[in-house]
Subunit: 283 residues, 2 copies
Amino acid sequence: MTVIADGKEIAEKIYKNLKERVEKLKRKPVLSVVITEDNEAGKIYVRNKEHACEKIGIISQTTHFPANISESEILSKIEELNADVNTDAILIQLPLPSHIDSKKILNSISARKDADGFHYSNAGKMFTGQIPYSVACTPKGIIKLLDEYQINLKGLNTVILGRSDIVGKPVAQLLLQRDATVTICHSKTKNIDFYTKNADLIVVAIGKPKFLKADMIKDNAIIIDVGISKVNGKICGDVDFENVYSKASLITPVPGGIGPLTVAMLMQNTVELAEHNLITDDW
Amino acid sequence: MTVIADGKEIAEKIYKNLKERVEKLKRKPVLSVVITEDNEAGKIYVRNKEHACEKIGIISQTTHFPANISESEILSKIEELNADVNTDAILIQLPLPSHIDSKKILNSISARKDADGFHYSNAGKMFTGQIPYSVACTPKGIIKLLDEYQINLKGLNTVILGRSDIVGKPVAQLLLQRDATVTICHSKTKNIDFYTKNADLIVVAIGKPKFLKADMIKDNAIIIDVGISKVNGKICGDVDFENVYSKASLITPVPGGIGPLTVAMLMQNTVELAEHNLITDDW
């Protein structure tokens, strides 16, 4: 029997735990979000995030900039938020307009307030086996889900499709830390079926609807689908779910799989940054 | 015909180029090395590095500490070197005595003077596709060698044995940047032959003499041997060279393969750090 992983249920468990942690703080954590007006998909995500914040007692503050905002104006805003002791976490909703250097913006956030874990110094600490202030939400959510279903990653042949800084590369590091054997495939990979057919676990994060077909996987593989696309008005992932489903041992649906865990991990990052800001302030 | 890659010859070409770059600077670059007296293998490496420095006009300054030196004394020395405008590059010769936290020491070096490219912020910049002050020498040397022999890495099935912060993990990033498909294997990998037998290119960096045997590779594979061990008084690598040799299309010998390129890349890092310190000072 194939297990369809329930990301929503796991997210609810995480929220319950985070709510309790928030109640112990001397004030509510503050997550500050920056978004530009042209980012329509981003607005939906931001509303989801605001909803999650409400659930657990995080104050969400969103700054909306016009699409023609200058890089220096965004940088000034971030500088202000970095300096504000009452802002615990900062999130820049990507994508930014094309005239803005996104990496420059992301790396101008104080690493101690980096809600998304995209700052190069946090990535570098994870990469070199140190403790970062935060870890990228989607990769962290993937590991959380695998842990909840008690998947032993040690020695597993894991194959990642996609090499982004946000999913593919950091999840490779987290899987390596758990002693998995890790292969990273991407658009230039030749004979991609060879890798996927031999994989015990596949993470697909390439943004190509229904890319992973049933004949590309082996029986009882674990399938983690990170894709979110809209096809004929319907949300679907990077996996051909209807056909892959019965062949897999565990599969994450889209929606309701990794998506809710990504938001939950953003909440967890925010609470962790607030705890350090308000309690320890020494790491 | 198998090509035995000549690391020494490539290193000499690099030295010639670096010597010319050094002559254009207003003063000689200064590389400051810190080593503890118990590090016998390290002393040999340090002498090799001093010899390379002489060749191209880098001033090498070595601080020898007793094995019972305290962490705070090493940190004070690094603080002094970080502040000294006439020190361009700093190298901590590993391993340090076991009572010292090596990662803490390595990360106390200013990222702008990080000769070895081990600082988490330099690793993080490489990992996130930005320009670090320096890149780890052995991985950089491996790519340099592959470039010299005009190996097109795009889409190649590359397999790395070993997941260290110093070789395995950073070389995986550099190979990905060149569009290779990358698998990282390690001590917990099951059925390692499966990966190596299908690989177009194998990097072995595990410190196990003659680990990679002829029956573990396919015909015409490219074999990069990073291991250096002493067996019965003879230096040997992680590859069973005598038997693997005729099956490979290109192989790096030990000694004379990647070793000289690691030293050459340390020289290149030092010159690059000095150029930025003395010329641009703005990156």
